[in-house]
Assembly symmetry: C2
Homo-oligomer: 798 residues x 2
Amino acid sequence: MANITKKVSWSSRGDESGSPWEGTPLLNGSEQPSVSRQLSGGRSIFQIGRLSTVDLEDEITAEEDSRGRPKEIPHNEKLLSLKYESLDYDNIENQLFLEEERRMSFGGFRCLEISRWVVCGLIGFLTGLVACCIDIVVEEMAGLKYKVIKENIVKSTEAGGLSISLILWAVLNCAFVMVGAIMVACFEPIAGGSGIPQIKCYLNGVKIPRVVRLKTLVVKVLGVMCSVVGGLAVGKEGPMIHSGAVIAAGVSQGRSTSLKRDFKMFEYFRRDTEKRDFVSAGAAAGVSAAFGAPVGGVLFSLEEGASFWNQMLTWRIFFASMISTFTLNFFLSIYHHKPGDLSNPGLINFGRFESEIMSYNLYEIPLFIAMGALGGFLGALFNVLNYWLTIFRIRYVHRPFLQVIEAMLVAAVTVAVSFTMIYFSTDCQPLGPEHSEEYPLQLFCADGEYNSMAKIFFNTPERSVRSLFHSQPGTYNPLTLGLFTLTYFLLACWTYGLSVSAGVFIPSLLIGAAWGRLCGILLASITSSGSIWADPGKYALIGAAAQLGGIVRMTLSLTVIMVEATGNVTYGLPIMLVLMTAKIVGDYFQEGLYDIHIKLQSVPFLHWEAPGTSHWLTAREVMSSPVTCLNRIEKVGTIVDILSDTSTNHNGFPVVVKVSHNNEPAKLCGLILRSQLIVLLKHKVFVELARSRLNQRKLQLKDFRDAYPRFPPIQSIHVSQDERECMMDLTEFMNPTPYTVPLDTSLPRVFKLFRALGLRHLVVADDENRVSVCLCYDDLARYHLGKHGLEELHLAQT
Amino acid sequence: MANITKKVSWSSRGDESGSPWEGTPLLNGSEQPSVSRQLSGGRSIFQIGRLSTVDLEDEITAEEDSRGRPKEIPHNEKLLSLKYESLDYDNIENQLFLEEERRMSFGGFRCLEISRWVVCGLIGFLTGLVACCIDIVVEEMAGLKYKVIKENIVKSTEAGGLSISLILWAVLNCAFVMVGAIMVACFEPIAGGSGIPQIKCYLNGVKIPRVVRLKTLVVKVLGVMCSVVGGLAVGKEGPMIHSGAVIAAGVSQGRSTSLKRDFKMFEYFRRDTEKRDFVSAGAAAGVSAAFGAPVGGVLFSLEEGASFWNQMLTWRIFFASMISTFTLNFFLSIYHHKPGDLSNPGLINFGRFESEIMSYNLYEIPLFIAMGALGGFLGALFNVLNYWLTIFRIRYVHRPFLQVIEAMLVAAVTVAVSFTMIYFSTDCQPLGPEHSEEYPLQLFCADGEYNSMAKIFFNTPERSVRSLFHSQPGTYNPLTLGLFTLTYFLLACWTYGLSVSAGVFIPSLLIGAAWGRLCGILLASITSSGSIWADPGKYALIGAAAQLGGIVRMTLSLTVIMVEATGNVTYGLPIMLVLMTAKIVGDYFQEGLYDIHIKLQSVPFLHWEAPGTSHWLTAREVMSSPVTCLNRIEKVGTIVDILSDTSTNHNGFPVVVKVSHNNEPAKLCGLILRSQLIVLLKHKVFVELARSRLNQRKLQLKDFRDAYPRFPPIQSIHVSQDERECMMDLTEFMNPTPYTVPLDTSLPRVFKLFRALGLRHLVVADDENRVSVCLCYDDLARYHLGKHGLEELHLAQT
């Protein structure tokens, strides 16, 4: 709270320095050489002399700046990184844009609308196809692997020398994992993990570098195959969401910058607003393909991203989801030699829950809620352990070499643990006809029996989940389940965050299903047999939901995903209750896993609502760095200097116009983005002082679209000394109607505007329409609700 | 297009008259006595002399104004009525509000949040209870009625004189319908119909008078019982949505204005923003209770209402839905003597679709799509017929007496048609054991057989739907189904829009199920029997979805509702495809039924996006009537005059402050609402010219909350001549930070702001921060996309 108090005192000083550019609207680095970096905390440039405390950020960034890439990512939770740009979801309605829109006929808009649908259809189709590829490759390769190992084990069990089997198994797994880890660690680190936190950030409005590139997709897809085949405690579902998003970002732009191919299609969609919409559709298509849950996919996109609910967009998202699950279903049906049979809607299939056998009753609901609470607790425990582990990794395991070694170590330990568990297990079950294709291991069991522990460990996780849901009562004995839960919990926790491409959905479900089934068995044993309690599969389902909810905490979409994946609506109510309980209990201890990882990356993330107790903060106090304004007709040299100034690093600049009176301050007349200025500089749209235009070609919107989204850095643009003396007329290119708020607007009101409109910059103007402050995304993300009320984070250039 | 062109020429004139209040910020009726009504079309007050054309609105309103209530509702689709107020979903962040928020502690916000959950729980519980009551009463009374009539028919079939049975049936039905119609027509006309259009409007931001009152709820609930028991072609599901919304509006306010009871609870929620959120939850709870579809309910609320997706709100809506279906389920299980059996989640239960029997195959999908197209076409036909009928009703059937007569006529005709169909039907089917409780009529069939036509006609519509879905192949012969489809289509079309409380969901499903089953039977007959085509129940389901989609056109929520009601996710994909096709085909011909009725009521309704081709319209051109500003310290007399001026009828007034210089125009400093001014006048918060405050008590937010939502009209407030000379200080009460946009902001940009933030007024200011225009909700609703591009509607005081 001390911080906040300090803040208030600054803000009162801020009043005096309300418009620091009076007379001269420019505050760039060259004019103020002592201001090397504007520090966080609302200090205005007039307080430079008072910088007595040594700032944490300075220390950290000092050595990083020299090498370009940080040697150590700071894990201070009170910092927000400035390395992330935010996305602009507000249309830049400048003259060029409006001219284009006005030229467009009614039919033109129809065509655009149709091409949006076509793009969504394509996104769905390609996402489905990718999912299908992953599934088939994993199935085939895992099948091959388990067959080889099984044959070896069978041979070794008779002949002795099971240690050779263990080594074979470990070597095979480690090889796969190594390939996956090398790809991720050396080529594209952003493709690691499930990708869901990154997509959450993207939909929220933060651009994580390289997150929607083709290379990321390739590494992600190949990586997930390797890690699943490599037998890690991971799932292939999470990465599908990221894959869908990348596909969407690629298809919608009609070109690939990596492959240097431009298909000259969909040029209209080359801006943040449209691209975000398609990425939402892609993420939804990914969920839909992963879980066979088209509605769940739509809800996921909406829950995570869309601040502004738009009906047409929602339908397109829905369409993409639908096509995605359908494509997957169709191709899988051909692969399974049952063409036309559309009963495999997703990568994971929970199997059919028959309502008759598995109905639930009113008095079971408290039990479900208790399981939800347990799931919430276990989920929080998982998250806490993973949090510590991630901090350890950030500190000590940040070299690619170490990351690959760690991944291989985990793979080896996973094999060793599995093998030990199977080896010492005495849980033998009679072999039924239905186990024929699930690699049952006989090991030391009698003929016609198989090792029950091997059934869950020596299998792909998806099959294990299904087996826990649907196997006959008595398939597993409680000890097997208990041991499995414990070991798999620790393995999964260790695995998440490795430099491999992998998801956490399936491991969570598997842990939950194991202890859920255990609960069911215990319940059945303490009550009379033959009653409604008899089927442990039902409890496995509830346990899976509880554990997953406790770890990831997405209530609404998760409910729908679970309901769609089970294919049975009857379980809707208990699943909802369980997920809600898990969320409430889990939130009490620790945040959701994805939120933890977002926070650890210091991503500025806007939550749904402004912190409740923030009404006393006003727009003028929220500002973290002073505004830099440009004149409507500005000297090129000045613009270059401002853009080159690494200390401020502004992305949006209010444009002002000076009224002719001598002492009148300049009035706001527009807003221009760094990216636009860069394009203008690149194309040298200069006007000589004699007002003759140097570059005769009129700049088109197309020039901006061609440069999107990889605008060159200012350093790469050469401006000669002569050109520096030219002027640049921003009138046509600036957004002449930026949203503005008065100085006294409260934080929640500003927040609502940002959130609802997807803004990136908001100009705060005084009564006379003079620019006082320009708020950016990061300024708002700094405030959040901690355990003891409002907390303020600092911005750091890491 | 002529209209639009005219518009542009006005707007260019508008530039000159940019700020007509220079010097004097007041333009009220007394000062401009000749401006009796500001007309639509962007005419500024300076163009009065040019009003040469006789305006339609003038003619219509001339005689209405004298009587208070319009004698005839105009059905000109090019008009928007001014009688509807819009709701303010933007918080009025005035000093009082901010002080309260700032006083509130972190714990206070927690308490508020918890009470929101409690209110949502209550809403869900009460909605479920009401649904349960309706269901039980309808079941019992319909059972009694059919039993009496059946006994009579059985007697008459043997003894002759079936005409007596017909009369008995007709008299019973007419009596029920009469009671229902009298209640609606005489006591609360707004309770007629399904209520969904009204709730759509409310969620959109338009306040339909009396729509969420207790009286409306009572009439709605009793009315729907009467109309369903009265055998009309109606359902009891639609009204549940309206009921849920009324319950929510009531519970959340913690008082009943009708009953004059204030429970002193939830006073914080007494404003439009909070109330709307709860009404969303109520509507969702209603859907959830009606169809057993909690997720569908949430989506319905979001699709129809929430422009701003808020995660916490969505969860609360979800919670209310969940509690609602659970409550209904629980009480129905007790009623059905199976306590604890939670398999009746909604009023309508489609029964269990077994996936094994009813799986579909890839090559059936084109067939489903074709059925979707047929459904879209039939739906459009239904809507066109109903549109004509509604216009006829508006013209000729607007007296309560006539409305009751019409309702009774429909009831009698329904009975007569049903009876004739049953009488002449020769479709006899063997009586199975499962029909024991469904009133089978033997009539002229052999012993052990029953009349198949009677099975659908002589039954509640819900049971008929279920029977069409699940009866064995061969239960109905094609002729029966064809005749039934035809007659029921016409009956349902005639029935919708009667002055009875009734929904259109079930009749739509029933029509669709009938022709869908017919399709199934025909398909089975042209292909080899025993194949996958054999079960017509599947086609009945698809037909039902197609017909419903064709009539109401809510794609996403409807899909989820259908999937949840069938309890089987397998049908998700075909249902989606069918609903989309139905929507596309239907939209080609005619709008959805609810949209038609909203349009016929001339409700200003904001669609999701601004019309595509409207980028060339700017904020200054959109304005329909000149702005009226108030000074920050304003004379009471002036305020009273402005509020009393029926010609402008403004609800929001920009507040300006004059800068001391002599010729400087006044600057915008806030926005105040009519309702706030009324409260201020009522409490006489005046300052004498000598600056001594007359009324010593400081006005609290509580005073505004107590007056909410039924603010007295200005006529009821007496202000003496002395008081007229006093001044009123608006500083504390106005919203000091209203959203503003520059004059040149394009319509889509303004639209987005309105839609995303739920605004009611938007101040348009010029470069100098002077007020130029104040846009209101109606101004934006005037523009919509017609068949030939942008169309502009007119505003009329009807």
